[in-house]
């Protein structure tokens, strides 16, 4: 081993503890945002399962809807809705950091980018609610 390699081997390298994120509020917020993406995955799978059951016939779908209507499942999904809202809000709030939008020579302010995202979200939610109300 060269002299430099010997020197380098003696340098101290701190290990990252498994609960490194508990030390700071912003890290906890980050981990919460990342973990709540599991709720997004769950909700997506739930919709896919429902669509697949529709393909199997009205009876299979009816049984699934009945299962979703049971109180423990409703309570679980109410909790999940809160988690999904947290994920959505924290995600949308990051949008202005990632986007630089120009209108001609002027840069669109961050507030306007944020507002556009929220309006898009509200419009999409209204569309889904409208479809549900008609069915």
């Amino acid at each position: 081993m060269s002299g430099e390699a010997v020197e380098r081997a003696r340098w101290y390298r701190r290990r990252m503890p498994i609960f490194w994120w508990l030390g700071k509020r912003s890290y906890v917020g980050f981990i919460a945002r990342e973990l709540t993406s599991l709720a997004v995955a769950y909700a997506t799978v739930l919709v896919l399962v429902e669509v697949a059951l529709l393909d199997r016939g009205a009876e299979a779908h009816r049984r699934f809807v009945a299962l979703l209507g049971r109180p423990p499942v409703v309570a679980w999904h109410a909790l999940l809705l809160a988690v999904l809202l947290f994920h959505t809000l924290t995600w949308l709030n990051l949008a202005p950091k990632a986007m630089v939008v120009r209108l001609g020579a002027r840069r669109v302010p961050n507030g306007a980018i944020l507002a556009a995202h929220y309006l898009g979200w509200i419009a999409a939610s209204a569309l889904v609610l409208g479809l549900l109300a008609r069915s």
């Binding site: 380098r8 003696r10 340098w11 101290y12 390298r13 701190r14 990252m16 490194w20 994120w21 030390g23 700071k24 912003s26 890290y27 980050f30 990342e34 990051l94 950091k97 990632a98 986007m99 630089v100 020579a105």
Partner: protein, 260 residues
């Protein structure tokens, strides 16, 4: 009346005698005009001349005195003692995320290697002759990249970034912000070459947008924003190569031609 004092707890690491860092306590005067760096200089000059740390300009420009103070990465030349009560304790340790060479001195060669790979200079396909005059730039074009040019390579952003500490191959916030500084410069033509380096997983995609790099930056640079903007640009670049491959080919051929 005796002068008020505070306790400075410093993490020492002397590789010839220690296998891991140990804390040492020093009593230093509490002077309202002092920064943490002044307190360290007091220890070095009056109490223990073997204490090792880096510093130079004392005015937040050189970026060499970054350390972890009470758990936060800061420039010690800009961290005031004012506000502390007599008898308070502050803890100073080396910047986290880097190998410690001795006491408060860390090895930053990993960063320097990565910085070089992103070509932090003006890349031109063809140099203009001097007699054609300067490259003119409008105030708006200057404003596009100016905030990123304020980076002083102090590495507080690397220290605050958990991804860099978990994935040491990650190029990291300052290097990507500096790549963006040149990409956004109207005189530069090296964005494609930098994209090759940064569109790999260890480049922009390793970043999961913790955002602490931006929070701790002492110069108001926004590396987290730079990385997210880069992701959008990389995605657009990929779509262009799939949907309009001939435009990418022409660009690449022009670059090869210019390099001859």
């Amino acid at each position: 009346m005796s002068e008020a004092t505070i306790v400075l707890e410093i993490q020492r690491y002397r590789p010839e005698s220690e296998t891991e860092p140990v804390w040492e306590r020093f009593e230093v005067p509490l002077r309202r005009e002092w920064m943490v760096l002044d307190a360290l200089n007091y220890v070095k000059e009056r109490l223990d001349g073997t204490l090792s740390y880096r510093w130079a300009c004392r005015m937040g420009v050189c970026g060499s005195c970054g350390m972890t103070v009470d758990g936060e990465p800061v420039l010690t030349c800009a961290q005031r003692l004012a506000g502390l009560g007599a008898g308070s304790t502050i803890r100073v340790e080396a910047l986290r995320g880097f190998p410690v060479i001795r006491d408060l001195v860390v090895d930053i060669r990993d960063f320097l290697k990565k910085l070089k790979r992103v070509k932090p200079w003006l890349v031109r396909e063809e140099e203009r002759p001097l007699e054609s005059g300067e490259h003119l730039q409008t105030p708006a074009q200057l404003a596009d990249y100016k905030q990123y040019s304020m980076c002083i390579n102090c590495l507080l952003c690397y220290s605050a970034c958990p991804i860099y500490r978990l994935e040491p191959d990650f190029v990291g916030p300052a290097a990507i912000a500096l790549a963006q500084r040149y990409n956004l410069d109207s005189r530069d033509q090296g964005a494609d070459a930098r994209m090759e380096e940064l569109s790999r997983h260890e480049g922009i995609w390793a970043c999961t947008f913790v955002g602490e790099c931006t929070t701790v930056c002492p110069k108001g640079v926004d590396p987290a924003g730079a990385i997210q903007r880069y992701k959008l640009a990389a995605a657009a670049d990929w779509f262009q190569s799939v949907l309009l491959p001939w435009t990418k080919r022409e660009k690449s051929e022009r670059r090869v031609e210019a390099a001859r």
